[in-house]
C-alpha cells in the first residue's frame, strides 16, 4: 500500500529534502503533494487524499498552527496525522501544538531515521519493513 504525503513548508529546499528522505525511507509513498503555506495545504487537502502531513510552523500567509486549527475544525485530524517539522524549540509552544492535535514533532535539522520512525509509529509498525515472499 502506497501512502500519500503532503509536505508543507515555505522553504522549497526543505520540501525537497523531506520528500527525498521519505522516498529513501523504504516506506512506499505514492503522491507527494507540496504546499508553501497553511492555506495552500488546506487547498491540497480539500482536493486530494492525504495519509500524512509534514508541516512547518513559521510560514507566511497561514502558519502551521492555524492550519492545524482549520484541520481540527474540518474533522481532518482524526484521519490524517500531522507531523510538525520546525525550528521551534519552545516546549510551551510544542505542548500547545500537541494540545491542538498534532501527532508528532521533529526539530530541524531532522534525521532520516527520525522521520522513518515517526511514520512507522503513526501509520503502523509494519510500514517500511522488508517482507520476505
Amino acid at each position: 500500500m502506497a501512502y500519500n504525503a503532503l509536505i508543507v513548508d515555505d522553504s522549497r529546499v526543505t520540501r525537497a529534502l523531506v520528500a527525498k528522505t521519505l522516498r529513501l525511507s523504504g516506506i512506499e509513498f505514492g503522491e507527494m503533494y507540496e504546499a508553501a503555506d497553511g492555506q495552500e495545504a488546506l487547498d491540497r487537502l480539500a482536493s486530494n487524499w492525504v495519509d500524512i502531513v509534514f508541516a512547518d510552523i513559521h510560514m507566511p500567509r497561514m502558519s502551521g498552527a492555524e492550519m492545524v486549527d482549520r484541520m481540527a475544525e474540518q474533522g481532518l485530524l482524526d484521519a490524517t496525522p500531522v507531523v510538525v517539522i520546525s525550528t521551534e524549540r519552545s516546549v510551551t509552544r510544542i505542548q500547545e501544538l500537541k494540545a491542538k492535535g498534532i501527532s508528532a514533532y521533529l526539530k530541524k535539522p531532522f534525521t532520516p531515521e527520525a522521520i522513518k520512525e515517526t511514520v512507522q509509529k503513526l501509520l503502523g509498525p509494519s510500514v517500511g519493513e522488508n517482507t520476505e515472499e
Binding site: 515555505d10 522553504s11 522549497r12 529546499v13 526543505t14 525537497a16 529534502l17 527525498k20 513559521h58 510560514m59 507566511p60 520546525s86 525550528t87 521551534e88 524549540r89 519552545s90 516546549v91 510551551t92 509552544r93 526539530k107 530541524k108 535539522p109
Partner: protein, 162 residues
C-alpha cells in the same frame, strides 16, 4: 558577556552547517580562496519574545549553491540562484531557532520571523563582519559571516540565570 554570545553563535553555526549542510566550518583559514567578483548573499531574520534581536548570515553565492547541492544531494548545475538563496535562508532559520533556545532556554516562547535574503556588496559584508557580536567562519575556504544583534541586558540576564 559578548564573547560568550559569540562563542554560542559559533558553536551553533558550526553544528548546523555540519548537520544540515554536511559542511565543516573552521575559525581559521590557511588558504582562503581569492574571489574578486563573487556575489555575496545575506539572509536576515528577527526574533521577538523575552528578548528581541536580529540574526544576519552572509556567504558567497557559490558557497550557497554548494550548500543547496549538499542538502538536496543533487549536482551543482541543478542548483540555481533561487535554490541557493533558499538554502541560505533555511540555514539561518535553523540556526536562529537553535541559538535562541541556547541563549534563553526552551521554556520562553519566541516568534521567529520569516527569513529574507538579498545580495550585498563586499563593503557591506566587511561592515557586517566588523559589527559587535559578529563571528566569521571559514567553510570550504570561503568566509561566512554571522552577526547577532540582541538586547544586551536581556542577554546578560540569560547567561546569569541559574
Amino acid at each position: 558577556m559578548k564573547e560568550d554570545v559569540q562563542k554560542v553563535l559559533t558553536e551553533v553555526l558550526t553544528e548546523i552547517l555540519e548537520k544540515f549542510g554536511f559542511m565543516f566550518a573552521d575559525q581559521e583559514c590557511e588558504a582562503a580562496e581569492q574571489e574578486s567578483d563573487v556575489s555575496i548573499l545575506m539572509a536576515e531574520m528577527t526574533f521577538a519574545g523575552p528578548a528581541r534581536g536580529t540574526l544576519q548570515l552572509a556567504a558567497p553565492a557559490p558557497l550557497c549553491r554548494e550548500l543547496a547541492s549538499n542538502v538536496l544531494g543533487v549536482s551543482l548545475p541543478e542548483t540555481g540562484k533561487p535554490v541557493a538563496e533558499d538554502a541560505l535562508k533555511e540555514l539561518l532559520n535553523i540556526a536562529c531557532g537553535e541559538l535562541v533556545a541556547r541563549l534563553f532556554g526552551e521554556k520562553p516562547v519566541f516568534d521567529l520571523a520569516i527569513p529574507t535574503v538579498r545580495g550585498i556588496s563586499k563593503a557591506q559584508c566587511r561592515e557586517l563582519s566588523g559589527t559587535a557580536g559578529a563571528v566569521r567562519l571559514w567553510v570550504e575556504s570561503r568566509p561566512v559571516v554571522a552577526a547577532l544583534d540582541v538586547e544586551n541586558e536581556v542577554c546578560d540576564a540569560a547567561f546569569n540565570r541559574g
